[in-house]
């Protein structure tokens, strides 16, 4: 990892968050102008840091920071081009899900720190979501890594030079995408905030910089989820004509746009149904996916 890497990660995070906000506006039919996004951010940052009466100030004020840290850590595992990534670990694919684990206490801290019933409920909801979906994520990652014989994201991308993992392992792909969407708590998995039910839920008390950090973290989580999906299942930077990083960026933004589009088309998932689907169907399916990965590896990758 070079000295410039932290700055590169932050630059990718901020640029990607802006791009995702722009895509979201396009999908909402609000036009493609970038000015309103900048103005929204500026007006949010101009708001004073709220100081509502909260139950635990340390948890309440620390939660947005930890949320951003966890999101950036997860993003740092995504390989953008050969030799161009934030953190280079041989187990980077698994470390991605480990980085996501920082998001769980952050969301719960936000809810518990605020101390309001709806906020605490939002925090508990997210814990339940993460517990349910972390295993499918890890198993899907393992399934994608098996043919590559390595947990290094670079190696997994390299193994997809001819066939993307989404084609070779459709079950793992189908499990990974909704699971990472749930961890990024974007619609239809926005249960921690649930605007229509909990009035903002775990993040309802945040204004000003706090609110900006929460929004930024959510965008970065989405960017990381889309990037890792592109890297593990859609061939990463492989593609004709264009430079590697451009292909990776296009695939990432395409996946993110698809996730945002799905969020607009589907009603918010209900927690009991989600948990039931995760524990009763997703986890067993993930085990099957690993078995399938082994078979595919033996037949085609060795």
């Amino acid at each position: 990892m070079s000295v410039a890497s932290p700055f590169a990660i932050v630059a990718v995070a901020l640029t990607g968050a802006f791009a995702l906000s722009w895509i979201d506006r396009l999908l909402a039919g609000n036009g493609g102008a970038a000015g309103p996004i900048v103005r929204d951010v500026a007006s949010t940052l101009r708001q004073p840091l709220g100081a509502p009466q909260v139950k635990d100030g340390w948890l309440y004020h620390g939660a947005p920071v930890l949320l951003v840290v966890g999101a950036v850590l997860a993003l740092a595992m995504v390989p953008w081009a050969p030799g161009f990534r934030g953190l280079d670990f041989e187990t980077g694919a698994i470390l991605y899900s480990a980085a996501l684990a920082y998001v769980t206490p952050a969301v719960f801290m936000a809810g518990w720190g605020a101390g309001r019933p709806q906020a605490v409920l939002g925090g508990f909801r997210f814990i339940a979501l993460m517990l349910a979906f972390e295993m499918p994520i890890v198993m899907a990652v393992t399934a994608a890594a098996a043919p590559a014989g390595s947990l290094s994201p670079d190696a997994i991308v390299a193994a997809q030079e001819s066939v993307p993992m989404a084609v070779a392992q459709p079950l793992a792909f189908a499990l990974f995408v909704p699971a990472v969407m749930a961890v990024a708590f974007i619609p239809p998995f926005d249960l921690p905030q649930a605007p229509g039910e909990l009035g903002g839920g775990a993040f309802s008390s945040y204004t000003g910089m706090h609110a900006a950090l929460v929004t930024l973290a959510q965008r970065i989580l989405l960017l990381g989820a889309a990037g890792m999906t592109a890297a593990l299942f859609l061939g990463g930077w492989h593609g004709p004509l264009l430079p590697d990083a451009v292909w990776m960026a296009l695939k990432t933004l395409g996946v993110a746009a698809a996730m945002l589009w799905a969020g607009r088309r589907l009603p918010r998932a209900e927690l009991p149904w989600l948990l039931s689907a995760a524990w009763k169907y997703a986890v067993p399916a993930a085990i099957l996916a690993i078995g399938w990965a082994g078979l595919v590896t033996l037949l085609f990758y060795r």
Binding site: A28, G29, G35, P36, R39, D40, A42, S43, R46, Q47, P48, G50, P52, Q53, V54, K55, G115, R116, P117, Q118, V120, L121, F124, R125, P187, P188, D190, L191, A194, P195, G196, E197, L198, G199, G200, S204, S205, T207, A211, G263, R264, R265, L266, P267, R268, E270, L271, P272, W273
Partner: protein, 462 residues
């Protein structure tokens, strides 16, 4: 109330109290002004108030104001705000309607802090009855504000939770119509045209005659257009509760398309109590609303909707048969209760009662979607011909009439102290029914179930 966010770049977030005469966005497309919807008073910075705030909403306005974080401001829609309310909101600080950046709210921070402390004490002191497994259940009060937001000035749901499962739910409307507000407030925001129709019939009966066919057609056109609009607004807020952007945008488009006739009416300065809609009605372009209603009907019957809303707020036909509840709730459970049944004028205009059998949120949504289609057709048919202006003698003069509002029947009669007495048969029973129907559901599902009933926050006599 409607909470809307700031227009981009203007740096303020807004909370809107509806004008008592317009229960949607007053015919103004605030999105064209750059505003957009928000979720909670805590995210608002600016309180926009009309010239006349209903008495019942004053406390809600002050409560919402106390939740706005600093710096907070308010903007009166008219040049002068009710002096008493202005003093309560601002103390001695004057505001300039032309300059919403002027002025700052004072006071009530301490009250807010005290209230917040109390809320936190309640939150952290876990007391209550034990559940079947011996763990203590928690009680909490949830505000189901107007349009199912978390704002004050609406219903309060007193919930007892076993974890996140609703064990008990009691609903309490918080808006009380004062005598000075009159019958209009009692009808709630969804029944003003129906109320006007009923009052016109009562007054004709007092004169010993029936409303003329022409008068009936005019009123029915207004009542049915209001019904379509009411259901479209309901779909919009239900979509908000479900977190479904596609349904929200479709219903928002329907609301805007349906408000266009109102804007035409308002520009022509027509009085809906004595509507003269013929020239306007003939020029109404309702193709767009018709398309959107078809789209809403399709979404209400979709697998996505059924998967999300099935069995939410389920009510049985037998329990409804025993009580006085009418409206879409009864019809969605298979009971063909509709005041319009048997009305010869409605029959001539093509009225058909719409029923479903499941009695859940899906059934209520489908009934409303179909009623929108039928109501639109009735409104156009009513406005397409003038009818004769002859007032025939009343066959059986009665002191009361029943009119079918968008939420259910309204009973209007002459009041012994002057004015009119308005009641909503079954309204109280509906609150009890709705609260009982969500027992055993997870909180989110319970809120969706409650939202599907289209409950009134007004304390209307039953």
């Amino acid at each position: 109330m409607v909470v809307i966010e700031a227009p981009a770049g203007r740096g303020v977030l807004s909370l809107v109290v509806p004008d008592p005469d317009h229960w949607t966005l007053s015919g103004v497309d605030v999105r064209s002004l750059g505003y957009r919807r928000a979720d909670a008073a805590e995210h608002a910075r600016l309180l926009v108030v009309p010239e006349r705030v209903p008495e019942a909403l004053r406390s809600a306005v002050l409560d919402a104001w106390s939740r706005l974080p600093e710096p907070r401001r308010f903007l009166p829609l008219q040049s002068e705000l009710d002096g008493i309310l202005a003093d309560e909101l601002l103390g001695t600080v004057q505001t300039d309607a032309a300059n919403p950046q002027a002025g700052a709210g004072e006071g009530s921070e301490e009250g807010h802090s005290d209230a917040a402390d109390d809320e936190h004490e309640d939150m952290m002191a876990i007391v209550g009855e034990p559940s079947a497994d011996g763990l203590v259940m928690e009680s909490m009060e949830l505000e189901i504000g107007p349009l199912s937001t978390t704002l004050p000035g609406g219903l309060v749901a007193e919930l007892c939770l076993d974890g996140d499962i609703v064990v008990e739910c009691a609903l309490r409307p918080t808006l009380a119509a004062s005598a000075s507000a009159g019958a209009a407030a009692s009808a709630g925001p969804a029944g003003r045209a129906a109320l006007a129709y009923g009052i016109a019939r009562v007054e004709e009966h007092a004169r010993g005659s029936e409303l003329s066919e022409a008068g009936g057609r005019r009123h029915i056109a207004a009542v049915e257009l209001e019904r379509v609009l009411a259901h479209a607004v309901w779909f919009r807020r239900f979509a908000g509760v479900l977190g479904w952007t596609e349904l929200f945008e479709c219903s928002q488009a329907a609301v805007e398309a349906l408000l266009e006739p109102r804007r035409i009416t308002a520009r022509a300065q027509l009085d809906l109590r004595e509507p003269t809609l013929e020239p306007t009605a003939r020029s109404l372009d309702l193709d767009r609303p018709r398309e959107l209603i078809a789209r809403l009907t399709s979404l209400a019957g979709s697998r996505r909707f059924r998967a999300r809303a099935r069995a939410r707020g389920e009510t049985g036909r037998l329990e409804l048969e025993r009580g006085p509840i009418g409206g879409p709730t009864a019809r969605a459970a298979g009971l063909a209760r509709d005041v319009r049944i048997g009305d010869p004028l409605y029959a001539a205009l093509g009225f058909e009662v719409q029923t479903e059998s499941a009695g859940d949120a899906v059934a209520r949504s489908i009934v409303r979607a179909r009623e929108m289609r039928v109501a639109l057709g009735i409104a156009l048919a009513a406005a397409s011909e003038r009818g004769d202006e002859v007032r025939r003698p009343a066959g059986l003069p009665s002191a009361e009439v029943l009119v079918e509002g968008s939420c259910g029947p309204l009973r209007i009669g002459a009041s012994s102290v002057g004015g009119h007495a308005v009641s909503a048969p079954g309204a109280d029973s509906l609150l009890v029914l709705a609260g009982g129907s969500v027992r055993g559901l997870e909180l989110g599902a319970a809120l969706a179930g409650l939202a599907s009933f289209d409950l009134s926050p007004w304390q209307v006599p039953g």
